[in-house]
């Protein structure tokens, strides 16, 4: 490997020991402190050429900080970074980019009003006559790239018209086209359908064969087990271990991530709560587009899981129940009384709370404080003569911070300073603060760490035990199985199937296999329902 050019003024120095040359990346002894809090303490990460390396850890474990340091966004307080055996002596995004590091973000960096091809070659467009942009060459090169990786995207398609999955793939192709030696993917599959994930994995395997070092960050353990060669696990800003995945079991990984006090998702609390009277009832309910003709009961103390593929109408069902979209035909009853909702405030008054799918766009005002966010749905209750009582507000916020164990510096800290899992807990607190009878959760654990996931699943069971009717929408079979009493499967806007938890969790299996088998049965059911259409 040739030494990568660094910025002027920084002199690359060859590593003296030969071992570091085997690694595409060698980060050693990395320590980073933010205002007295140690985000990283003596952390290491070594990634070989031609390997897919999983970086694992809970929210707040320090993954993002480590990656930011690798990308040059932040400088470490101490520690060394070697790329291809060459010490990185300057910390800037420019230096990292020149060293061959490319990163694909959770938040998309594509420009929606440009085409796929224009985005891929943005700011380095092929030039033609008189230095003008050669659109045809741009398009042809993009088409070649897409074909290389068997991605069926038209280079002339506007990014704005693409599905989330297509955008993600375009973004990946853009990164690859820059001939990066190190590719960092942060939760790349969260927006992808199952077949797109397969496509992504094919691309990654091809890149691995070409010698690219890939760092893969994901909370989805199944994917890690499928694709990664080795894994490095961080916990609370400290390095735990690096090991080949062949030597790690799922249980071992989870216990390393969550540490001693964590609880396994597989340990489902036995016995379903005694279900009481029907709290939420839908009769042949249809909304605009989806859902279509849905009839469903949720009883007091019951958790009803909603499974289905992306686009099956699960979130539309949640929005309908919460009054975001109107009920066009059919009926909706809460505690036996028909309700006609036109906006979320009416749903809240009717005793319904929604934990929306996307916490950043629908759940939170991220530039505001923890306290402002938590108080927003219940301002009237906290106010007298429409002036908000500071002490009542503080009491409410502190109670929820303690109850949900939200990790925050103070109640007045900006939401931006919280990790994803803790942000999600604030969204939950907002819903719970309205003291709902019906709790609708749409993907409540998407993109958060396994520790917070377990806590949230436990909380869902607790809420059911406390007499609420819970509707849980999730794409993760393990979560549905761990939390639900009953699971309905949606396909194309309809309710296509329903199973009780006892039907898919068999007591014959040994405890370790039980969860796996239940997941397989649920997956099978989802597939079958879609095949029937």
């Amino acid at each position: 490997m040739s030494a990568s050019p660094l910025t002027a003024g920084s002199i690359p120095s060859r590593q003296e020991s030969g071992t570091a040359d085997d690694f595409a990346i060698a980060m050693k002894g990395i320590t980073k402190t933010f205002g007295g809090v140690k985000a990283l303490s003596n952390v290491q990460l070594e990634v070989r050429h031609g390997e897919i390396h999983a970086l694992l850890g809970g929210n707040g474990a320090g993954k993002s900080t480590l990656l930011k340091i690798l990308r040059g966004v932040q400088a470490p307080d101490s520690g060394t970074i070697d790329i291809d055996g060459v010490r990185l002596s300057e910390h800037s995004t420019e230096a990292s980019r020149r060293a061959g590091i490319a990163m694909i973000f959770q938040e998309m960096s594509l420009i929606p009003t440009l085409t796929a091809a224009q985005n891929i070659f943005l700011n380095r467009e092929p030039r033609g006559v008189a230095g003008l942009i050669d659109d045809r060459q741009c398009r042809d090169s993009a088409r070649d790239l897409f074909e290389d990786f068997h991605v069926s995207i038209d280079p002339d398609e506007l990014v704005a018209n693409m599905s989330a999955g297509q955008r993600q793939l375009t973004e990946i192709v853009k990164a690859i086209s820059q001939r990066s030696k190190v590719l960092v993917l942060d939760e790349p599959s969260s927006a992808l359908t199952e077949s797109e994930v397969d496509l992504l994995f094919d691309i990654l395997r091809k890149l691995r064969a070409d010698g690219v070092a890939i760092i893969y960050v994901s909370h989805r353990m199944e994917e890690i087990m499928r694709i990664a060669d080795r894994a490095t696990i961080l916990r609370d800003g400290r390095y735990v271990l690096t090991a080949p995945l062949s030597e790690l079991t799922l249980d071992a990984i989870i216990s390393h991530i969550v540490g001693q006090e964590g609880r396994n998702l597989a340990m489902r609390q036995e016995g379903t709560a005694a279900a009481g009277e029907v709290i939420l009832e839908l009769r042949h309910a249809s909304g605009p587009g989806k859902p279509t003709d849905v009839s469903l009961n949720v009883r007091r103390g019951e958790v009803v899981g909603v499974a289905g593929l992306l686009g099956s109408g699960r979130s539309s069902l949640a929005r309908l129940v919460y009054g975001v979209t109107p009920l066009l035909s059919g009926e909706m009853l809460v505690k036996g009384k028909p309700v006609h909702l036109h906006k979320p405030s009416e749903a809240i008054d009717a005793g319904i709370a929604l934990i929306p799918e996307n916490r950043l766009t629908e759940g939170l005002i991220v530039t505001h404080s923890v306290a402002s966010n938590m108080c927003l749905p219940v301002l009237d209750r906290l106010s007298r003569w429409s002036l908000v009582s500071g002490s009542k507000a503080a009491q409410l916020v502190d109670k929820h911070i303690e109850w949900l164990r939200v990790k925050t510096d103070s109640r007045d800290a900006s939401m931006l300073s919280l990790s994803g899992g803790n942000q999600q807990k604030v969204v939950l607190a907002k819903g719970l603060a309205t003291l709902p009878d019906v709790l609708v959760l749409d993907e409540p654990t998407a993109g958060i760490d396994i520790g917070s996931k377990t806590e949230i699943v436990t909380l869902i069971r607790d809420m059911a035990a406390a007499g609420k009717a819970v509707l849980l929408i999730s794409s993760e079979p393990s979560e549905l199985i761990a939390a639900s009493d009953r699971i309905v499967v949606m396909a194309d806007g309809h309710l296509a199937a329903e199973v009780s938890i006892a039907d898919i969790v068999s007591n014959d299996d040994d405890p370790v296999e039980r969860l796996q088998h239940a997941q397989q049965r649920l997956q099978l059911l989802i597939q079958k329902v879609n095949a029937n259409d």
């Binding site: 933010f34 470490p76 990185l88 405030s345 005002i365 402002s372 927003l376 009237d380 908000v388």
Partner: protein, 323 residues
Amino acid sequence: MTEISSSSVPMMTYLLRSWRRGIIYIGFVAIFIVFSITLSDQGFLDPDNLLNIIRQTAMIALMAVTMTFVLAAGEIDLSVGAVAGFASVVTALVIHDYGFLAGMLAGLASGVLIGLINGLLTTRVGIPSFLATLATMGIATGTAMWISQTAAIPILNRAYSFVFGGGNIGSIPVLFIWVLVIGIAGHIGLKKSSFGRRVLATGGNETAAHYSGVDTLKIKLSVLLMSSTMAALAGMLYAGRLQSGRYQFGEGDEMSVIAAAVLGGTSLMGGTGSIIGSIVGALMIGLINNGLILFGLDYSQQLIARGGIIILAVALSQRSPRR
């Protein structure tokens, strides 16, 4: 090695952040001191001159209070200056025929009417407030010119002139009392009331606010209504102070009002707002205007100098463009 001494970095960002929040107050004091020294011979520090600054700035400050609510909700109101002129004409015409009370009510009603139009266009028809208020700005000015036949309408009612802008209680201008009362009410309304919280939430993230049970359309309608009504009051104060109604009153004020709010730390992106900042921002603009006049600059030079100072102040008070 990549040893980097650390602790200085958070300290720097902390200082930088508080500097940006405080720049308007520091800038205000700095400009005041500079003018006090350099313009002492021209009578800058005369009580009369200082009271004059307050009189000249009061209308901008009042409109900046409600503009802060509008900007905090993520909207904008370009029609305030035109509404002020329109309301001054309406008030003067009605006072002439029907007296004090009717004139006052008619003036306020003209603001409520245009505020409702702005609000309904924005929330029901879905026209962005930038365009809706740009349109009503023209309509308000045109109507004012039409009904006044572009002439000044004199106001001979003394009580009106005293209450609305012209009077003094002891040596304190009535205008100062207006600003004080409305400023305090605005500050409490934005920071302490549930309405203010909902305004900030709507501007911070409209979808999330809607999902949290905030009636975001009602909030937007309310702030645009408040802004126009306050603009009408400002127009009535112009009318009282200058004892006439004229369509030119308030001409171009929208720019000073928005500049005052932004100087005071309110973001055009919504979700933040400071009433005290906006009032100090308005006073600062008045201060600069007054100083430039005392320096003997002619109107063209004043415009250039004022533009430059506002750019400088806003640039210093804004967050850096990247992160």
